[in-house]
Symmetry: C2
Subunit: 426 residues, 2 copies
């Protein structure tokens, strides 16, 4: 009987259970059952010891599980989640060793096994994605961001040339102060340490990347598909002597590679499109180290209510889509991540737009000469409309901080974000 | 022609447009079109002025919109979102007055109109809900929480009798300190002001309600369907002289009523079940004032992976389900809410459980005498298993802060949560 069973590894569990039910003694039957249970559990670092002396031993076991009968082993195999608790409660199974450490090792092993399954699903989803989306994104981005750096320089801040929501710790902060405060708020959320590596997806004119390298001592690989922005960013990095620590790469977020301690993306998600969230999730999954952290900053909405305003889509931002927070979370629930912190900064964006609109109007003659009256009216409406959308609560601004799901390298509280004095900065 | 049109209010827009297309002068045709546009926009506080002098005037108009041609008006009616921007850009439509205030009023009016539509949908969903769920919840809750207050008193904190995740601002905090710190963390997030009214759904032994009334000077209506817990809570409130400010109501969260400035629910959502999230959302929607804030604190998961562990469901928590953050957000996206802040406190729950397990083991003989050995093993496994689930990242603890979607009464930053000195407390 035992040799029969050795050869029936491919047969169903039910068949095996039936074949071994009559046997009262030790042998390959119970070993095969225990081995199957161990594999199903994702090979945790534990030791299984059966009633008949059979032993299955993982590497460096943290505890020994005594299973006292064949009936208990069979039930564990058939309904592990329900029956483990029942057997433990009734004493049909005993754990020798630290119960908490033992359970942690079970949970971790199962998460690893689930992760492997999900990763296979994600791979097959990705392979169905259309080939031309890389080109499509490039055209969409050039429509908006390649209008000329000098146009944006007229009305964006002079400190870091940020075309995203600023952060006003005090109402009276200037736009320049608020944009630098935003960069620091992001860097504190990422808990950057000197010497770490950061990947930035969608880096605009490169202000955040240079700020991180200069003030936090990290190495940055920053991606962007806007040719004009990348040229500007490289020139600035050279001028500031940061080109040994900041690398600007004219390529799509889907091509990011290498390993990093932190992933950051400020104001790119609006251009990614829901259908590409799995690809973004997979790209982050590919590069983020086991103790890695990340932050995605994006315009969003309180609920998914269909596509963006069609006029904005047509004239200003082709391909743009502001997700609801639920939709944003698909990125994290799709991969091996855990959401740690979400902050809604919509009134900060209204304030930012108030500054931009004011500066835009101050330069309206210059802009009218370079473009035309239709362009001026279109941009006036876009800036005023965006301001109104944020101040009325039609649009939101979400910063989502996440980390690797199984990393316990977490800050105890968020108090470190609100320490103003310089000596507390990383 | 104009009298024909007056009577054809029920006819389609296309018919009307055709009938009036030939008319070059003022009359009921253009007035009817402008009125329809105004109604479609949700009756914003604006003035519409047509090329022919026709005027539609909302109450206290913030701006005047000049529409320069019938063609522009027709296109606005057919595709308002796209054509408004086109007409503005080309000058076929002009806005007299503050452009931002005008756009804000449009967004607000549209949100109100959408809200009314969604509310009708929600009403019809609710009417389909099964009648016996109120009884089902009562049985499920009594299974766990009516084991006897003295059992829980053996191993919960003595400060506030909290059977939910504590908050350890410092690693060395005692369980008592950490549970009080949790209560304050929640109260600060809610920005409670003296004299305000709070509704609490699922109040346990009433510790948070008494703390809010005592320290923050608010009035609390606290709901719970566990008979034993409510009796305990009322007795404590009487003993502390708080029964004029705290009312404990032995009833289901679905029956909450009246108006409140803040809604709070700590550790109840796990027992609500996904199918009842729309009912919870509607209950909050019914009571929360226009400037109201809310907080939901719940065990959660990184991704939805089917039902809870079946053993826990069977022996410990019948009907329980820890949602993913995405699933939690259904509550807010279903109603007129905006998510402001999410914090994941899972390592604080691991620490809380470490304290509980230690105290449980210290009293294990007493517990064994009162119940039996199976009960002791079951609870040991439940506490150790929960600890392991939080420390390994299998379970999360989410605190979600939200407010009414259109309220701008928001804190500028979250720094007020991290001010330790008493004079900064509300």
């Amino acid at each position: 009987m035992s040799s029969d069973n050795k050869n029936s590894g491919a047969s169903t569990l039910a068949t095996t259970a039936k074949a071994t039910a009559g046997a009262g003694s030790a042998g390959a039957g119970s070993r095969w059952l225990a081995r199957t249970l161990y594999e199903k559990a994702g090979r945790p670092p534990i030791r299984l010891l059966l009633w008949d002396g059979t032993e299955i031993r993982g590497p460096d076991p943290v505890a020994t599980v005594h299973i006292h009968s064949r009936a208990a082993l069979l039930r564990l195999l058939l309904h592990p989640d329900l029956y483990f608790g029942e057997a433990f409660m009734h004493g049909d199974l005993e754990v020798e060793g630290d119960l908490v450490r033992f359970l942690e090792s079970l949970y971790r092993a199962r998460a690893t096994a689930q992760e492997a399954r999900l990763s296979r699903v994600a791979q097959s989803t990705l392979s169905r994605a259309r080939r031309n989306t890389l080109n499509g994104s490039r055209n969409n981005i050039q429509h908006h961001y390649d209008l000329g750096n000098d146009f944006y320089e007229l009305w964006l801040d002079r400190a870091a040339m940020q075309y995203t929501c600023a952060y006003f710790p005090r109402a009276e902060a200037t736009l320049e102060e608020a944009q630098v405060a935003k960069l620091d708020h992001v860097c504190r959320k990422l808990r950057l340490q000197p010497g770490e590596t950061v990947v930035e997806a969608g880096c605009g004119w490169g202000g955040l990347a240079r700020h991180m390298a200069r003030k936090y001592g990290v190495h940055v690989r920053a991606y962007n598909i806007s040719h004009e922005q990348v040229a500007f960013a490289r020139e600035r990095a050279r001028a500031e002597g940061l080109d040994d620590r900041v690398q600007y790469i004219e390529d799509d977020y889907r091509t990011i590679d290498g390993a990093c301690d932190a992933f950051v993306s400020i104001g790119m998600l609006e251009h990614v499109g829901l259908e590409n969230y799995p690809a973004l999730s997979q790209a982050i999954d590919r590069v983020l180290k086991p103790n890695g952290r990340g932050l995605i900053h994006s315009i969003g909405r309180n609920r998914a209510t269909g596509p963006m305003n069609p006029w904005i889509e047509k004239r200003i931002f082709p391909g743009a889509y502001p997700p609801s927070l639920r939709e944003m979370l698909e990125i994290f629930e799709h991969g091996d991540f855990s959401v740690l912190d979400v902050e809604n900064l919509r009134l900060h964006y209204a304030e930012t737009l108030r500054h931009w609109l004011l500066r835009f109007e101050q330069h309206v003659e210059t802009i009218g000469r370079r473009f035309d009256a239709d362009f001026v009216r279109a941009w006036r409406l876009y800036l005023a409309g965006s301001l109104a959308a944020f101040s009325s609560g039609t649009l939101q601004l979400f910063q989502v901080v996440f980390n690797r799901a199984r990393s316990n390298d977490l800050p105890r509280t968020r108090a470190h974000l609100y320490v103003e004095t310089a000596e507390h900065l990383p």
